[in-house]
Amino acid sequence: MSELEYNPTELLICVASRLMKDETTAFIGTGIPMLAASLAQRRQAPNLIPIFEFGGTGAILEDLPMAVGEARTFHKALHASGITDVMETATRGFIDYGFLGGAQIDPYGNLNSTIIGPQHHPPKVRLPGSGGANDVGSLCWQTIIIMRHNKRNFVPKCDFVTTPGYLTGPGAREEAGLPPGTGPLYVVSTLALMDFDEATRRMRLKATHPGVTVSQVVAETGFDLILPDEVEENEPPSAEELRILREEVDRQRLYI
């Protein structure tokens, strides 16, 4: 298997997809989470219920949506409602997982997708803003964050906290009023899989991608990453995963 050729995006999709479980609900955003969910529905999670913020619940992801409100987000779905219904469902504790991304992430899994630079307005660089990200990060039980891994993105402190991770550490989410028992579970990056240390709520290396060394991950991370005694290695994409991804999930090669 290891001699199979694949690109970094395909690896990212496969690692994220393996984290999706059958018979769970997952909030899906544009891009890699859509591909990962579609792959998961064709493999280990045929009854994964994708939830899209503008109202699609339980779609069968036969064709890739290009947007979170597009008709493919409620293709053969169980429910087509609206954003308040979906977000209130999340508030009531019905949404197990949420997938997130951002321009910056800090050691506590806080995310920035609003501005780059020290000043809010006018900013040095204006990014799109929260969209549904803050709500997903606040209200889903657990979030999985997908990131490009480099020192510019993995920063000691976000220029702006758009979406809550563990904020300033243990107990901070609850202190802020966010629902207890919620927060980031994993970070899937282009180099590795990370989780969060329970005592400090800081990011910890869990497994490197094939061909990536621990020192490479450390060098590309702009803060002290917790290193466990044993670092696992992620399996490369299997022939079957690649076949499904290329022939079924993204036939038109829009993303991969």
Binding site: M66, S81, G129, G131, S138, G177
Partner: protein, 325 residues
């Protein structure tokens, strides 16, 4: 209730629920009157310089693009905008007609960040930016729809999104936990595109409703564009499908392919090449201005726009639509 934190963002449109009631009593007719008019007339009558305005659903999905382009065409300026969108917001930003933003997301989805947003906000031409989440914005519409000045929610807490909003954090009088209070957002003008409407403004949509249910109830003036104008008998046959009843509506515009280059569920799909054309054009200000000239200023109305897009291309979009199988 003790306020423990206040967002420092300006409340661009303070809620006045009694004034809203009074408006709805005196300015919104209960009469079943014909509201069908052209997009030119609708925008001329109800959209004005400095108004607080927004659009539903968003740029590539069931979006009132016909009305959005007409606002640009008529040169209405200094808009205060609840900004959740893609191409529709980009067109307004590129035309430099936005003065203040309640901003949740403006971007190009899979195609990345919006260069039009960057140019207008980083230059300070958009003078004020107040941050919200998508749910936050939808709950602000919901508060207005409920006729109450705020709603308590469990989102936005602990973040800079709240700090740069005009929300407040309080201790819940029942549980003692912290809650974010979001102020009701009453729009001066709302623009919304639907699958079908009658001449009085009774509207039905198919598929997801997005922000629609709450948005339509949070407007002083609501302009509807519709793919199809149907007899009222058709509405009365399926009243359960009516999302927006007539008394909320001020104008009805017949706009087939009114969401183009976005999609309309079960009617036509996205026009990907046209969306990409905007992504490319908007990389530079010159490119964006040339696009506005070609697709808005040089065309008199929606009919001319559709003619320019061409029958063949529109037929392909219909062919690619989502189907109920």
């Amino acid at each position: 209730m003790k306020v423990v934190e206040s967002g420092i963002g300006e409340l661009l449109q303070p809620p006045d629920m009694n004034a809203f009631r009074e408006w709805n009593r005196t300015r919104k007719s209960r009469k079943l009157v014909d509201k069908l008019m052209t997009e030119r007339e609708a925008v001329r009558r109800f959209v004005y310089d400095g108004c607080y305005i927004s659009t539903e659903l968003y740029g590539t999905v069931r979006c009132p693009m016909t009305l959005v382009r007409e606002v640009v065409r008529q040169g209405i300026k200094d808009l205060r905008v609840a900004g959740q969108g893609v191409i529709e917001m980009d067109l307004w930003l590129a035309a430099s007609i936005v003065k203040a933003l309640d901003l949740t997301y403006i971007g190009l989805e899979v195609y990345g960040t919006s260069n039009a947003l960057r140019r207008e906000v980083e230059s300070g031409r958009v003078e004020k930016v107040v941050e919200w989440s998508n749910a936050g914005l939808s709950w602000r519409f919901k508060a207005a729809a409920m006729g109450v000045p705020f709603l308590p929610v469990r989102s936005m807490l602990g973040t800079d999104t709240l700090k740069y909003s005009s929300a407040k954090v309080v201790e819940c009088p029942f549980t003692g936990e912290k809650l974010a209070l979001l102020p009701a957002l009453i729009l001066d003008v709302g623009l919304m595109h639907v699958h079908r409407a009658d001449r009085y403004g009774n509207c039905q949509v198919e598929g997801i409703t997005g922000f629609g249910v709450e948005f339509a109830r949070a407007c002083r003036r609501l302009i509807i564009s519709a793919e199809e104008i149907v007899p009222t008998e058709e509405i009365r046959r399926y009243p359960d499908r009516t999302t927006v009843p007539y008394y909320l509506v001020d104008a009805v515009v017949h706009a087939p392919f009114g969401s183009h280059p976005g999609e309309m569920a079960y009617v036509y799909c996205r026009d990907e090449p046209e969306i990409k054309a905007w992504v490319k054009a908007s990389e530079t200000d010159e490119g964006a201005q040339a696009y506005l000239k070609e697709w808005i200023y040089d065309l008199p109305d929606h009919q001319a726009y559709l003619h320019k897009v061409g029958q063949e291309r529109l037929a392909r979009l219909v062919e690619g639509r989502e189907r109920r199988e």
